[in-house]
Amino acid sequence: MQKTKHSLLSVGFAVLSHAAVAAESGFTLETVDPDADRLALQAFYQQRFPGVPLEEYVNGIYAIDPDSRKQWDALMEFPPYEFDLEEGEELFNTPFANGQGYADCFENGGIGIRQKYPYWNREEGSVKTLEQEINECRVKNGEEPLPWKKGDLAKVSAYMAFTSRGKVFEIEIPADDSRALQAYLDGKEFFYSKRGQLNLSCANCHLKGSRIHVRADLPGPALGHPTHFPVVRSKWGEIGTLHRRYEGCYRDTRSVPLPPQADEFRKLEYFQTYMSNGLVVNGPGARK
């Protein structure tokens, strides 16, 4: 049997020898170092796609695949999210029945604040996303919450991202509340863990599998993933939120789906956005 095992290893594939150097610490609350993780992830992509400036990663696959970039540049001459953005602005500025508005719920009237989301909420002991707070604002003012994945919520979020374009992501993990670091660590573990019948992790496609064809699709790099959401995705034919995409990706592993804004997804967003610290907000975006 040993023989069988050996020949499987040697005759089969040389995949092992291509494995990137794996980290040896950073998997416990005591050793995890988010900034070291961020720099290691940047280094991974810079080694993988030499010559692509870091700030380009906000453009996803279009940062690293010149052919896709050409088509995208043509598409962006008339960005497909223009109408959503106009509607989002109108929705944002339309007062609720009680006379209050979205601007009253957020710091700086909701303008130019996208780069602070998601954040650790000490009082609630959980990660809060922008979409969550948009809906909480509505409920607080006697309005119905909006569906999480598309439509008006995505449009309001798109407008708020648009007013924040060019601002640098500055996700914080408060040092005096270890629960925040634990949430980050949970998000990190989620990103690298294989799941579902197809045994796929986020990292399988978006780290090593980035810019390698899955049928006609080219998975984008994880670095910069959250910067350009919400997006108009050609496959959807409309605008959608980051958690809509998370849900679809997760479902594609043949797992029982998790709902948008699930605890796991918010922690994943916390991890992913922390990885994108230093990059700018460029949402809303357009993707294949």
Partner: protein, 141 residues
């Protein structure tokens, strides 16, 4: 049985003795991977076949009682997988089909579906355990 396994193994030049560090699970999987189901092999001197335990359960007499028992134990396994947050898409689907088959008195069909659901649920739990020990290797330094 043992005799057949030995003869077969000899004819295929596969060493009968397995390295000590190989667990039963590993040897079972290696044998199933090489030969599919229904293949005889020995482990620690004992004869086995490459049928999953769930498949063996489904070989019991196709009666209502046996079908119900298999569905019940498969559902328990599915719930354990769910509680770990690692539930796969299909076990609940197969179980739904198994219950329909049961209601139509198609006991063998119900048992085969429940067996597949139970096996996949068990594998999803195994996945949870192995991922806990291996996800770290995927993180770049």
């Amino acid at each position: 049985m043992k005799m057949i396994a030995l003869t077969l193994a000899a004819s295929l030049m596969v060493p009968v003795a397995f390295a000590q560090e190989d667990t039963f699970e590993q040897v079972f999987n290696q044998q199933r991977a090489l030969y599919g189901k229904g293949h005889a092999f020995t482990y620690a001197g004992q004869p086995y076949t490459t049928d999953h335990p769930e498949e063996i359960e489904a070989m019991a007499e196709p009666t209502r009682a046996n079908a119900e028992a298999l569905i019940t134990s498969a559902e328990a396994m599915r719930q354990e997988s769910e509680s770990l947050g690692y539930e796969w898409r299909d076990p609940a689907r197969f179980l739904k089909q198994a219950r329909t088959a049961l209601s139509e008195n198609e006991y063998q069909r119900a048992m085969d579906l429940a067996a597949r659901a139970k096996y996949q649920a068990r594998m999803s739990i195994a996945q949870y355990e192995s991922v806990n020990a291996s996800w770290q290797q995927a993180v770049p330094e």
